[in-house]
């Protein structure tokens, strides 16, 4: 099937098999490997991207379902070489270790902050339920998202 998706502001048109997930399309067809596969069954959140502005798990979305949509991946967060405030905050607060869950964490953080610009610790923990991190114990991820809120609201 032919699909056309605007990804990080750029239109991509490709022929794909319906069974290919958006993650697979990003990684294998477009070589955008920043979106990771941790479980491939929508439990771990490593594959999180935004679809028309909402965080979704791209492993549980067929590429054909995203036809005509606007997708942002981790690669689209930095603008003109400058990291997005969420990315900056993760660096500042040591919100990552091995880095594997990080793209998903950053993308879900964007969704959390979109709906709760001044999130409490509890809001953030609630918002992160769909993302596993095995390295940080979430402690510094929460601090990062709090810090990102400060940077964005400044």
């Amino acid at each position: 099937m032919k699909i056309s998706i605007r990804i990080n502001g750029k239109k991509h048109t490709d022929e794909v098999e319906p069974r290919i997930s958006l993650t697979h399309y990003l990684r294998e067809t477009l070589d955008m490997t920043g979106t990771h596969i941790g479980c491939d069954t929508s439990a771990c959140g490593a594959c999180t991207v935004t679809l028309n502005g909402d965080a979704v798990k791209s492993c549980t979305l067929l590429a054909v379902q995203a036809d005509g949509a606007e997708v942002t991946t981790i690669e689209g967060m930095a603008k003109n070489g400058e990291m997005h405030p969420i990315q900056q905050a993760f660096k500042e607060k040591h919100g990552l270790q091995c880095g594997f869950c990080t793209p998903g964490m950053v993308m879900v953080a964007a969704d959390i902050l979109k709906h709760t610009p001044n999130p409490s610790e509890e809001d953030i923990r609630h918002g992160l339920k769909g993302n596993f991190c095995r390295c940080t114990g979430y402690h510094n991820i929460i601090k990062s998202i709090q810090h990102a809120a400060e940077l964005i609201n400044k």
Partner: protein, 786 residues
């Protein structure tokens, strides 16, 4: 100490990870690369009657299908550690075949590999491989595996034992002391099996170059050199110099990526067979079924106390599962990394541990974060707390009574334990005192008794742990059965411009070596961190290495780099002396330059470096260049220690445990980067809490794993944990140049018993004395009803 060491320097590796620009193995694509999929057994124990690959071979896009009949059947992956039976009989070491030939020994064992043009086609064709099995009865519990009528995992031997082992004082002496003890506390429990669950699934790409007769293996491993050695010398029999192993960005390991796995060996073999690169990336289901798992001990223990609460003797018998085959370090885990910690931080005069290590019809068990030490700490910290409660002594008081007094390992000698080791330095009461201050212990007890009046169940639990890490002197581990040395390699190459490349045999998979190693190198050389690059994870770049596990990177890997820097500075001083026309002993080195003492005459590190490579005006007899490599073999393990305190509330109606506070006071020796140490502790604690409250691999009677996905294997999510309150004391390690001990596993080792002790404390007035981990709501609720 300098400009960088001791400061929370932000990580240099973060930018690429944050931008999605890391290079994990599955991100790599090679020209003409094929994809593969495995056909795996749905049975735990079965005879393979027939494998029919004919349909699969005909399927669209299939390049090759291999079974054990196809040449790879002769190969197996080796075990790297030998523990012989107490009676002298050699460890039973079954062949661990790359593909099962006649018999299946655990669910998920591979019987065929299908290689195709794309992943989807490989998966489609794998479904066309038809295998006839004859299912056999299985045994998955390590104690039941030693029953007389237990199904045999390997038919070559009369029972399932891989080996047995003991450590400590004479058993009869320990038993006699227990007979005479004023009070004896007993415990029986299972330290449950855990799945490591690094978020990046294992991934391999093997690329055989026909023209050069060389292989490159891209692999998600924690120790590329050891993989190369094991695969070349012990598995496939290919010349080591023809193989390059690359492991750059790795998405977490926690032990599970230390080992040499059958899949990486098989894709290496297959790449030559088909003359094209072969990739395999595990999916999460396969990870549950095939990544080496952790723990799985069945424990029976007795601890004797005198009337004052001093421990007089400790006797333990354990059955520790090995799984279906012996994974790379498996035999070392319940023995040398476990029994040697039975002293804990206490002056216990008599200790005996007896271990039986059976094969079971399960995925192999090996090191998982902490590896043997969490199991030892869990037992010790639970039984000491249980004993205290039985004797009516406060859990902190019993610890203060039994602590080994402080010693620095310099003025005071190291502490010789009853279980082979000599601790380097420690101040065990110091960390507990600090923890109690942070907690506000007295206030907590008041709050607790008030809460109980209102039916609210809150409790506090303590764990005063020690662990042995930085593994360790090669001669010692060799005597203990290791088939490899356990040193580390560090090369420092000064470029002509004075910029520095450091090559380390340690491997970073989240620990931040690119930052921390650069911090101390920069300080030691007195140059900016930006002038230093840390390279790891490539056997063609780094001379040799033993990799990262056992919290050894800084203490062993860092020390090797320090040794090379000493050599650089020693040689640099010769060049500087020549340039300054002064004697070497008249020079001081500081802030990146050599200065003639008492003068302002100096020469910079950069100038000396350039001179070393452009040796026109140069000391006679001195070789050009400024590049040194060192092997550092430590004098001893290092022994971090600490106090972990958990405060919990139990929902009286449902049994659900809420962790309200977690305090971790850790002494990891000198601290290079407090931000990173804190991060390591946070993550370690989360995994320890995971074991206490949530995680458990469950096999049913037939050997099926019923927790083989995230729908059933509960792992800590963000709302399962509180913020973690951390603090440190600093007792430097006396025997390595950085004075560091290691922080990677401390959190996991210390935390688990603190949480369980807290829950038992919360429920003690209801008569609860022990609860089996994980403390699932159901388990806790049932304990409250009895």
């Amino acid at each position: 100490m300098g400009n960088y060491v001791g400061k929370p320097v932000k990580r240099r590796e973060d930018a690429r990870f944050l931008k999605g620009a890391g290079t994990y193995t599955d991100d790599i694509k090679l020209r003409k690369m094929t994809q593969s999929a495995f056909v795996r057994s749905p049975y735990a124990h079965a005879k393979i009657l027939n494998i029919d690959t004919s349909e699969a071979k005909k399927a669209e896009g299939v390049v090759a299908v291999f079974t054990a009949q196809d040449g790879c059947g002769e190969f197996g992956v080796p075990c790297g550690w030998q523990v012989d039976f107490k009676n002298g009989e050699t460890m039973r070491e079954p062949k661990h075949p790359l593909l099962a030939k006649d018999k299946i020994r655990h669910v998920g064992e591979a019987v065929a590999i299908v290689i195709a043009e794309s992943l989807e086609l490989a998966r489609d064709a794998a479904e066309l491989v038809s295998v006839d099995y004859e299912e056999l009865p299985a045994v998955t519990d390590p104690k039941k595996a030693m029953d007389k009528d237990a199904p045999l995992v390997h038919d070559d031997w009369k029972d399932n034992a891989a080996f047995d082992w003991c450590i400590g004082n004479d058993r009869a002496e320990v038993e006699a002391a227990l007979e005479k003890a004023h009070h004896v506390t007993e415990m029986e429990f299972r330290n449950q099996r855990l799945a490591p669950n690094a978020m990046e699934p294992r991934s391999y790409i093997a690329d055989y170059d026909v023209n050069g007769d060389k292989w490159t293996l891209y692999t998600s491993t924690q120790n590329p050199h050891l993989i190369r050695l094991l695969m070349c010398a012990f598995a496939l029999g290919i010349p080591e110099q023809k193989v390059r192993v690359v492991s750059k960005d790795v998405g977490g390991g926690f032990g599970s990526k230390v080992y040499h796995y059958t899949e990486e060996c098989l894709v290496t073999w297959a790449s030559k067979e088909i003359g094209r690169p072969v990739k395999w990336t595990s999916d999460r289901s396969e990870a549950f079924l095939t990544d080496a798992q952790g723990r799985d001990h069945v424990v029976k223990s007795k601890m004797g106390f005198d009337k004052d609460g001093k421990i007089v003797a400790h006797l333990t018998d354990e059955y520790c599962a090995m799984g279906a085959y012996l994974s790379t370090f498996a035999p070392a885990i319940p023995t040398y990394l476990h029994g040697t910690l039975f002293q804990g931080v206490y002056t216990t005069p008599l200790i005996h541990l007896n271990v039986t290590a059976p094969f079971t019809h399960t995925v192999p068990v090996d090191a998982y974060r902490g590896a043997g030490r969490p199991e030892a700490t869990y037992l010790l910290e639970r039984i000491v707390s249980k004993g205290a409660r039985e004797m009516g002594i406060d859990p902190t008081e019993i610890r203060f009574k039994n602590f080994i007094p402080p010693f620095d390992g310099v003025e005071q000698e190291g502490y010789q334990t009853q279980v082979a080791l000599q601790y380097d330095s420690g101040n065990y009461e110091g960390v507990l005192k600090k923890g109690l201050e942070m907690l506000g212990y007295e206030d907590f007890r008041k709050e607790q008794s008030e809460a109980r009046k209102n039916g609210k169940l809150i409790g506090v639990g303590f764990s005063t742990y020690i662990e042995g890490c930085g593994i360790a002197p090669s001669a010692v581990v060799g005597a203990l059965g290791a088939r490899a040395g356990l040193y580390e390699v560090g090369q420092v190459r000064v470029q002509p411009t004075g910029k520095v490349s450091v090559f380390t045999g340690s491997h970073s998979h989240g620990q931040g070596h690119e930052t921390v190693f650069a911090q101390f190198v920069a300080d030691k050389l007195g140059i900016p961190m930006d002038d230093i690059e840390i390279e790891h994870g490539d056997t063609d770049q780094v001379a040799f290495g033993m990799g990262t596990y056992g919290s050894r990177s800084l203490s062993v890997g860092g020390s090797a780099i320090m040794k090379s820097i000493d050599k650089i500075l020693e040689k640099g001083a010769k060049i500087a002396a020549h340039k300054l026309e002064a004697a070497e002993e008249d020079l001081d080195y500081a802030e990146g330059k050599w200065t003639v003492k008492g003068t302002d005459k100096s020469v910079s590190f950069g100038d000396v470096s350039l001179t070393a490579y452009v040796p026109h005006d140069y000391p006679e007899g001195l070789e050009p260049g400024l590049d040194f490599s060192s092997f550092y073999d430590p004098a001893n393990f290092t022994y971090p220690f600490g106090t972990h305190i958990a405060v919990v509330e139990v929902d009286a109606d449902t049994g659900r445990v809420m962790l309200n506070r977690f305090i971790a006071v850790d002494d990891v020796g000198n601290i290079m980067n407090p931000m990173i140490v804190d991060g390591q502790i946070h993550g370690g604690v989360a995994q320890g809490v995971g074991q206490a409250l949530l995680e458990e691999v469950v096999y049913d009677e037939g050997g099926q794993m019923i927790t083989g996905s995230y729908m059933d294997y509960a792992m800590p999510r963000a709302d399962d944990l509180p913020m973690i309150e951390t603090a440190n004391t600093v007792t430097p390690c006396p025997h390595n140049p950085l004075g560091v001990k290691g922080a990677g596993e401390a959190g996991t080792i210390g935390s688990t018993p603190a949480v369980v002790n807290a829950v038992v404390d919360a429920l003690a007035h209801l008569g609860v004395t022990d609860i089996q981990m994980p403390l699932k709501p159901q388990t806790v609720w049932k304990a409250m009803q009895n």
